[in-house]
């Protein structure tokens, strides 16, 4: 069976590095009999959109990433390099889709990775490094690989990075590449719903008095901190006073309605075992309440004016697996930096410092 026409990913072993390009070309060819356009002399464009280097965590992670990216191939055709550290020599496997991605799984000594990949990067296309190989600071190959990329994508939650770690990483990369974080990408539906929920009440965004964010690990949860940071930055709240290890008071800008100038921000720690990044957000203000939560596999939102529910929304299934693939898909279609993320991260760091009692 030709892997290019199969729905399932099938690797093809390659012995020499210089065979990779030609093997991809072969794998991309549709079967001659099925090539209806052959008689018309049609040459289809190979619509690659980016180079994607994935430094995987381990073999299981490589298989999972390969599966995601294979499925995303038709939507985000990329030249994909799955890089596994391997102390002993060079091991290569290739795969390609007729309409989709070209994939190379390379296992090699980490210090050789950047030099090996450099000539294989497709010219004129952006390069994205997805780093899943543990805390970047402790891996010598991180910086050479990041130097190949226009953007570096991490998953702070997966890597166990705190806000300060991510901010330090962003600072380290600043000037030569952009940092993005899947923890932030995961927040998009939450941000969207919060916007929609608050928009139902004129002026609600300026009259918020309390925000409660429920997440595993509470205030140590990167997604929860980023959401709080984003709200604070967009609504111009400034951290004012620590109330506890999981709550603090923020001040609204002077132009806001004067009745309650302070906003209470609280993080609720949910029991371990739930893998969702966030489990719930509630925003309350004078006379309104917007609540968003996971309900089974769904994301649900309700909006109340006083005791009356004025709107209810139940969303499509958001299984954890789909979330991960969806988040990747979103990131693959973005180029350049995200100033909003940088601002939310800075604000999240300020909130984290305040919660820790630091000045």
């Amino acid at each position: 069976m030709n892997p290019a026409t199969s729905n399932a990913l099938q690797w093809s072993a390659v012995n020499r590095a210089d065979e990779i390009e030609s093997r991809w070309a072969v794998l991309r060819q549709p079967p001659a009999a099925a090539h209806e356009n052959a008689a018309e002399n049609v040459h289809q464009c190979r619509a690659l959109t980016l180079n994607l280097v994935v430094r995987v965590a381990d073999a299981a992670d490589a298989a999972r990433m390969a599966g995601y990216l294979w499925r995303l191939g038709p939507r985000h055709p990329a030249r994909v390099f799955l890089v596994s550290p391997h102390a002993d020599g060079l091991h290569l496997q290739v795969a390609a889709q007729e309409q989709g991605s070209e994939m190379l799984h390379v296992a090699l000594p980490p210090e050789r990775a950047a030099a090996f990949l450099t000539p294989l990067l497709q010219s004129d296309l952006p390069a994205l490094l997805l780093w899943r190989g543990g805390r970047p600071q402790v891996h010598a190959e991180f910086e050479p690989l990041a130097a190949l990329a226009d953007r570096v994508l991490v998953d702070a939650q997966f890597l166990g990075l705190g806000a300060a770690d991510v901010a330090a990483l962003a600072q380290r990369l600043r000037g030569w590449t952009h940092l993005a974080d899947l923890s932030w990408t995961r927040l998009t539906p939450w941000r969207q719903l919060l916007y929609q929920g608050l928009e139902t009440t004129p002026g609600a965004a300026q009259r918020v008095t309390a925000v409660t964010i429920a997440a595993p690990a509470g205030p140590a949860n990167m997604a929860a901190l980023l959401l709080a940071g984003w709200l604070a930055r967009q609504l111009q709240w400034t951290p004012a006073q620590r109330l506890s290890a999981a709550s603090l008071q923020l001040l609204r800008p002077a132009a806001s309605p004067p009745a309650a100038p302070a906003v209470t921000l609280a993080f609720q720690t949910t029991p371990p075992g739930r893998s969702a990044a966030l489990l719930g957000v509630q925003v309350e203000g004078e006379g309104f309440r917007v609540a968003i939560c996971h309900h089974g596999p769904h994301l649900e939102m309700s909006v109340h004016h006083g005791e009356q529910e004025i709107g209810h929304w139940a969303g499509a299934a958001l299984t954890d697996q789909r979330r991960e693939a969806d988040c990747l898909a979103v990131e693959l279609s973005i180029s350049g930096g995200d100033p909003l993320y940088r601002a939310a991260l800075a604000s999240a760091c300020a909130i984290a410092r305040q919660l820790e009692g630091q000045p």
Binding site: H43, C45, H76, P77, E199, A205, G315, A316
Partner: protein, 532 residues
């Protein structure tokens, strides 16, 4: 009431986007809180197009939690009956991703269905509008209302007047009130003007959204991106490099039990006056000063107004610039099909055209001397819509002397084809050297396939257009002056054809590419139709 205010529209749109939490959510355009009132809610369009589109938007989180739909029709339904019918419509016509079959997303449907209500009554009955006003005020949907007239054009003035009498044309001073009107926008220039006047009596132009679903198609929208987001095409997009342009909208189906409608309409009214001229406008317009509704629509009106009259004063006949046809019996896809005159509700000696070919000249600096050939017809061999830009041949064909047998006709001109449907994409035909020691040339086609290159699901045109209307973005809707400019161009030809019925009808067999006269019409110019 008819004053145009594009600045006000832009300002309103900017206000809608000014919410501090909206920043960075540009890719996820969402409608503001509003209620959509559908007149003709028990009809086919609502079930087939509107409700599947609204449900898809709801599933994509593009609708706010307090979005509501009020269906209005004569049928004596209640809320539950309305919901059942709409569910049936979604089950039958929604995109596969939004299907409800196999116990699909029951929670999503339940959440959506809870927002559907129904009000029964006659469209000319003031009591209906009193009831409607009370229902609207009782909803927590805010102050924004979008009326959708999924009704015959003859009811537009009646409904508009009744809405005004009930004060619903400006529902709330704190919000917006808009109205979407379905095509056809009149049947000639006089009726279009009359319809516009009727609408302008009760609505400002910026409140009116005339929907032509063709403009919501992804590939039509992509033409603007292709032209103005790439540096290499616009410099050659003019009379110096382009020989001619062909725009084809072909249908393999017949009139599909719409004999009564088609006898009144015909191909020129049904397709050319709206869809084909809209596509021509996007292909031929100048770059707008900004990518906003007002400037884009200004450019489209300018280019359609620049088209040379089809029947210039003193012209002896229209044959130099127009061909009409009517299909007789034939075979489509190998199956025998009846001729137009054998269809239900069609007169036995009908002279209604089912095929039109036009040669249009745009009188401006960019296009002077470049013919635009338009054709559209029923019962053609295949369903296809495309724009083909044929470039001029190289000024000096050196290969002609080098290679025996490579005469003038052996080197094909470059053709850029924008396929609108099906198989959406863009292809470019160019000459290439065949590998080998000899110098042999061969045309090759470089083919960009829109669907498979991105693999992104394409939204239905109605999803895009409904969301745009809720957001107040009129770019993909027809402004009154565009409608009138299109009718001003086509009405003299319509009148001439109605005055002189075609004695040769039917003049093409179903399953062919139209009448011989259409080929002859091109041959006279030394050109030929593309085989799409």
């Amino acid at each position: 009431m008819a004053a145009l205010s594009t600045t006000a529209t832009a300002a309103a749109a900017a206000d809608e986007r000014a919410h501090p939490l909206r920043e960075g959510l540009r890719l996820q355009r969402t409608a503001p809180p509003c209620t959509m009132v559908i007149f003709g809610a028990s009809g086919d369009l609502t079930k087939r197009k509107l409700m599947p589109a609204l449900y898809a938007l709801a599933r994509m989180q593009r609708l706010p939690p307090n979005f509501h739909v009020i269906g209005v029709a004569v049928s004596g339904w209640d809320d539950d009956t309305f919901r059942q019918h709409m569910r049936a419509g979604v089950e039958q016509f929604a995109n596969p991703d939004d299907q409800l079959a196999d116990g699909g997303d029951a929670a999503s449907w339940a959440s959506f269905a809870a927002r559907l209500q129904y009000v029964a009554g006659g469209f000319d009955d003031p009591a209906l509008y009193t009831k409607l006003a009370a229902t609207l005020k009782a909803l927590p949907g805010g102050d924004n209302v979008l009326f959708y007239l999924a009704t015959p054009p003859s009811l537009i003035a009646t409904i508009g007047d009744q809405l005004a009498r009930a004060g619903l044309n400006q529902f709330s001073p704190k919000g917006w009130t808009r109205i979407i009107v379905e095509k056809p926008f009149g049947r000639d220039l006089a009726s279009a003007r009359s319809l516009n006047q009727a609408l302008h009596r009760v609505f400002d132009e910026e409140q009116i959204f005339r929907i032509d679903h063709y403009l919501g198609k992804e590939t039509v929208r992509n033409i603007v991106v292709f032209r103005f987001a790439n540096g290499i095409f616009e410099p050659i997009w003019n009379r110096r490099y382009i020989d001619h342009v062909q725009i084809t909208v072909a249908e393999s189906i017949g009139i599909e039990r719409r004999g009564k409608y088609y006898e009144e309409a015909g191909a020129l009214r049904d397709m050319v006056q709206n869809h084909l001229l809209q596509v021509l406008a996007v292909v031929a317009m100048e770059a707008p000063v900004r990518f906003e509704a007002g400037p884009v629509r200004d450019e489209k009106v300018k280019v359609v107004s620049s088209i040379r009259p089809l029947l210039p004063a003193g012209a002896a006949s229209h044959e130099a610039c127009a061909v009409r046809g009517q299909y007789g019996p034939g075979f489509v896809g190998g199956d025998p099909v009846a001729g137009y005159r054998d269809e239900a509700n069609v007169a036995a000696a009908s002279s209604r055209e089912t095929f039109v070919a036009l040669k249009l000249g745009i009188e401006n600096w960019r296009w002077a001397g470049v013919p635009f050939y338009l054709r559209s017809g029923k019962r053609l061999p295949k369903r296809v819509s495309e724009v083909a830009i044929r470039f001029k041949s190289p000024p000096f064909l050196m290969f002609q002397d080098l290679i025996p047998g490579t005469g003038d006709n052996a080197i094909a001109a470059n053709v850029l084809v924008i396929r609108i449907q099906p198989d959406e994409g863009i292809s470019l035909r160019f000459e290439a050297k065949v590998p080998g020691t000899d110098m042999r040339l061969r045309p090759v086609k470089m083919d960009f396939q829109y669907g498979t290159s991105f693999g992104e699901p394409q939204p239905e045109a109605y999803e895009t257009l409904l969301l745009d209307a809720m957001l107040g973005d009129g770019m993909l809707f027809s402004r009154y002056d565009m409608v009138e400019a299109a009718w001003a161009l086509t009405t003299p030809l319509l009148e001439a054809w109605e005055q002189f019925p075609a004695p040769e009808f039917p003049n093409y067999a179903a399953g062919s590419w139209g009448p011989d006269a259409a080929d002859e019409f091109m041959r006279r110019d030394g050109r030929e139709w593309r085989r799409p």
